[in-house]
Symmetry: C2
Subunit: 205 residues, 2 copies
Amino acid sequence: MKVDKVEPCVIADPDGWTTLRSDTVFSSTYVSVDEVNVRTPSQPERELSWTVVRRKSAVAVAAMTGDGKLVMVEQERVAPRRALTEFPAGQIDDVDNRFEPDVILATLQAELREEVGYEIAEDAEVVSLGYYFTSQGFTDEHIYLFFVSKVVPLSTGNAPDASESILGTRLIEPATLKQMVASNEVNDSLTLALYARLTARSILF
Amino acid sequence: MKVDKVEPCVIADPDGWTTLRSDTVFSSTYVSVDEVNVRTPSQPERELSWTVVRRKSAVAVAAMTGDGKLVMVEQERVAPRRALTEFPAGQIDDVDNRFEPDVILATLQAELREEVGYEIAEDAEVVSLGYYFTSQGFTDEHIYLFFVSKVVPLSTGNAPDASESILGTRLIEPATLKQMVASNEVNDSLTLALYARLTARSILF
């Protein structure tokens, strides 16, 4: 298996940014809400106040079977109250080591096994496609994106998390995915972001 | 101006879904956090518990100048602590009328004027590209996507909201955008989602 170097996404004050205040006003297992005041490079004399929802970073992967199909997952999603067809994805639970490429890769492998029942083939390439921010206006959440050139099904099938509601694995032709993106049938950010990176890099057409 | 019909994104219990409980545990001007219990079609005997962050829906637009450039905005973003180059976007503030196509279109026009200083040309087509969910695992936030075939600059320039931190308008060649998507220079969900829909529909290449 050939694995690209992963560039971790570190969220901290770069040159010209100063966090003056960051107060957590709500916190649960899944999210926290922080009220922050910052100074930014463009107007260093001004304090900008903002509400930031913090959430773990995550990994999403477009993986291809030996016969050129993309492995996707159909899943009931509570927030939008509907079932969506998405690329497999999951959060990086080892928060202390979240910048370690090995931890990011282990999350990718776990999601392939658990959500869709596949593993990376020995002769596969794992291509890092960067990351993206899910909603830059209000959350620090970001998702690392990958392409895996070859995966093989596990004899044991998938083993979804009982707290989620995974309906099944779908094998999708790239041309069908293109139609699903065009027609609004695919309408979640991680699948659209992966599709954008894959086509911009001419991995998919 | 020729305007496509917009399909509103209604979030409610479809057939087989039942919301048993929805308690708001945090609320501010910008977000609320709800603890919900639902029954879903796949396992109607089970209660699924979830934390949902609610936020206004929004509009994002890829608009093209008369000479074929895309109008983008460079903006300091507090949550990821960096300046991003994005397509113009903004929230639908008229919440009571958020499903009205006219209200959605008015938001699009306001964002073009205020964020980047452009207006829709009289002979333009406004193409509806559906919508997407920014982070289906935790929020109901969704963004309507549009392509405007021709915009013209306002003589008065832009008029950004003082509570934001807009650095300026950038006119980007489609080929340059493709490189920016490929290289991780564009890394926000709304720009990637628009790029995905535009390429899948062969509006951009």
